[in-house]
């Protein structure tokens, strides 16, 4: 009920925003068919089957071709996609999905529960090279009760279960049955059930999707979705500047400065929404200095997050206080905050035994100078700039920081996996479900696991275990709220910022409604008024 109201409030806000934006435009148009959206991206998809895809470029395109049982609504609640409704048994172990009967594959074959079952069997088949099998292995039994009813039973209560039934495990059985999925040529020219259909892919150059006339929510207004691959960011921006692409993601610098010209204001619309990710400074708990909570808190007091958001993101982000995105339901704003306070930081360091000062101002304890290295990955200038600001701020309280920027694979294999680091500046992309068992639970410290800082707090362990076994949203909110308070008190990470996603879209596209899940969720409703249409598809 609550989420329903929230949805309406949000919808209202969106309408208000749009109304404000559109106030100056004189004419109102009815949606019409035609035109194409040309998207410019740096990365190229590698495969268009969701369960085989590992990169966001592949998922972005595959998501337009394949629809799953459920999807996220604009308020982050779960709504049906192929499933018109579902029931969860009282014990929380069985979910029964009721599928809509008007969904078809591209060749006209109905999309049924057998396709979901086939997808499930494929993803849990050990010979399928997929990164997403684990969630589905929690399933004890899956069955197609009839053509339009699909039922899964779990071994134990598992709250993130429902969210896993997106488009990951739906495959056209009549096409793939009897073939080996990963070697099938169809993985690069798939047949789907979503709003768009695969048309053409020129590797290294472009990928073209056409509107699907049989899409169950109605044929998209746009005739085509064209994705152009331009690996060089500067070239990509020049393409945007010359009007040859309609849609791309901007960097903060491009958003705030390079697109602040008359040309862009006249021809493009820019949007912002918090991305589902955050950037953090993590401490290695195996390092004796950082085992002392006062030291971690002192560093937290010495860093001015506001200055980082202003300086690095040019204000295009939000200060993070925990591992969740502000304004989403798991987020708890009432956690202990570390205001920028150098005196407090110095006092905490003094109390922790770092009161001696060397001739160059660096603190000493038991003969050791307080010097450590922050590791970050190559190719992310936002992180490098953040590290530099932190270095400067910590020098002011007598801590000498070195920064090492390392190529991604080397960083993971040689430093993180072997736990050979003092501090890391990295980011996490997070899911919509608040379960973060894998990152914080004390059991997840083995090689290659994600609690690489070796954080161990029995209370946090208990909350994480309870959170993933609870379905009630208010109860979960309480559990994850407490979890955030403990993290804020403990400071295993210093949560720095949540960057905004910064898409820019050509002005001729109408019906774009920004929401917490972005702008492309209703791509099939975007349209271009007749007199502004630019591309015509070949007959």
């Amino acid at each position: 009920m609550f989420s329903n109201i929230a949805r309406y409030v949000l919808l209202f806000l969106c309408i208000a925003v749009i109304a404000g934006k559109r106030a100056e435009s004189k004419t109102h148009h009815d949606p019409v068919y035609g035109d194409a959206l040309v998207v410019g991206t740096i990365g190229e998809p590698s495969v268009l089957i969701p369960m085989l895809a590992t990169d966001s470029a592949s998922h972005d395109v595959a998501g337009l071709i394949f629809s799953g049982l459920i999807k996220y609504d604009t308020d982050l609640s779960i709504i049906g996609d192929l499933a018109s409704s579902w029931d969860i048994s009282p014990d929380g172990l069985t979910i029964t999905f009721h599928l809509r009967k008007d969904a078809f594959w591209e060749d006209g074959t109905p999309c049924t529960a057998h396709d979901v079952l086939y997808g499930f069997k494929t993803i849990t088949d050990p010979s399928t090279p997929t990164a997403y099998a684990e969630e589905f292995k929690q399933v004890l039994r899956a069955e197609a009760v009839d053509d339009y009813t699909f039922r899964v039973t779990y071994r134990e209560r598992y709250a993130p279960a429902l969210t896993s039934w997106g488009n990951m495990a739906v495959l056209p059985r009549h096409v793939f049955e009897g073939t080996l999925l990963q070697t099938s040529p169809l993985v690069r020219k798939p047949m789907g059930n979503g709003p768009f259909r695969f048309k053409e892919w020129i590797p290294g150059d472009r990928l073209v999707l056409g509107a699907s006339p049989s899409y169950f929510l109605g044929r998209p207004y746009l005739d085509a979705y064209i994705c152009r691959f331009i690996p060089d960011p500067a070239t990509l921006f020049l393409e945007l500047r010359s009007g040859t692409i309609d849609f791309m993601a901007l960097t903060p610098l491009q958003y705030a400065r390079q697109t602040a010209t008359d040309f862009f204001q006249k021809n493009f619309n820019k949007y912002t929404y918090p991305s589902f990710s955050y950037t953090y400074l993590a401490f290695n708990f195996l390092h004796p200095w950082f085992q002392d909570k006062r030291v971690r808190q002192a560093i937290a007091h010495a860093i001015d997050k506001k200055e980082i958001v202003e300086g690095v993101l040019l204000g295009l982000g939000e200060i993070a206080t925990g591992p969740y995105v502000p304004h989403t339901w798991p987020y708890n704003p009432d956690v202990p905050q570390y205001t920028f306070d150098q005196q407090r930081a110095a006092a905490l360091l003094d109390a922790a035994g770092w009161h001696q000062i060397d001739t160059d101002g660096v603190r000493i304890k038991d003969g050791a100078r307080f010097e450590f290295t922050i590791l970050t990955n190559m190719g992310n200038s936002l992180r490098m700039n953040t590290a530099t600001i932190i270095q400067w701020r910590l020098a002011q309280i007598g801590i000498k920081v070195k920064i090492r920027v390392i190529e991604w694979s080397t960083l993971i294999n040689e430093f993180i996996d072997k736990k050979r680091f003092e501090a890391l500046l990295l980011g996490w992309s997070i899911g919509v479900d608040p379960d973060q068992y894998d990152i914080w639970h004390s059991s997840k410290v083995r090689n290659k696991e994600l609690n690489f800082i070796s954080y161990n707090n029995p209370e946090v362990d208990r909350l994480l275990e309870a959170g993933r076994r609870t379905f009630d949203i208010d109860e979960r909110k309480r559990i994850y709220g407490t979890f955030q308070s403990i993290l804020a008190e403990d400071v295993p990470y210093i949560f720095l910022y949540v960057p905004y996603a910064l898409p820019i879209v050509h002005r001729r596209f109408h019906n774009i409604h920004p929401s917490p899940i972005g702008i492309t969720y209703n791509l099939y409703r975007w349209y271009v008024p007749r007199d502004m249409q630019r591309y015509r598809l070949s007959p």
Partner: protein
Amino acid sequence: MLLYCLKRFIGMIPVFFGVTLLSFVIIQLAPGKPTDRLTELNPRITPEARARLEQYYGLDKPIIVQYGRWLSRIVRFDFGVSFSSDARPVIDKIWDRSVPFFDRRLTITFLINTLSLFLILAVAIPIGVLAAYRPYSLTDRITSVAVFIGFAAPKFWVALLLMMVFSVQLGWLPISGIKSLNYAMLTEPGQFFDRIRHLVLPVFVSACGGIAGMSRYMRSSMREALSHDYITTARAKGLSETAVLYRHALRNALLPLVTLLGLSVPGFFAGSVIFETIFGIPGMGQLSYQAIMMRDYPVIMGLLCITALLTMIGNLLADICYAYIDPRIRVK
């Protein structure tokens, strides 16, 4: 002559396998594995799943066994299957028979490099000759400065400047890619013209550094040729200056250039990585960049094999040409 070619050709075989062995080992020395892109920092993967993936790709075997497997395939001209999630045969990625000839990666890279080679020769030889004919003259100084600027300017920077001017400001040329979005709807001459328009900037940028280097070599080689006694003799005979310059001096001055061309083949392919990335051109350079980033061993090895082969063929051709045009070598 035939015997010479045959000898050289047989000599290439051990070199080729030496190159592949070294490459194979060096690739594996780089940290990271092809499976990383599936497994690293992924909350949904267990150690068992990781082991299963490594077994799937044969990465659990010792490196020498992996090389042996690769070798046994390569002698049957099978480059294997890419480790990336598309799992396409390597040969299809490089030489995709399902697309038109001019859209295949090898053709694209080869075409751009050949065109740029012709451009280099067409520009560098006259510049070099001119500069050598009147050393330290105003022309020589101007071309020297221009050539050094061209040599020193980073390619990516030159490329962006040219895009700004010719594409964004003037709108004459497309910025990136190899054909326009409406390519399929163009007439045949239109399609040809569209491709040419897309090739202008990449060919110029990739030739840029080469012109600089080659014209300097040409200058010094020409100066050396002009200082020989036979030039004095030719002039004393009363030959026209054109004949002296082109028949006697230039022919001799071109000899070292032939060797240089043979040696510069790998350099061309290395350069492709840069300009294909900047111009978004789907060639071999772009493919090798992606493959290296993803630790896609079979693709990297496939590309290295082709590059090694082309380099050796380049060298062989250079040597044959050398023997052909220089009688002193032929006699020996």
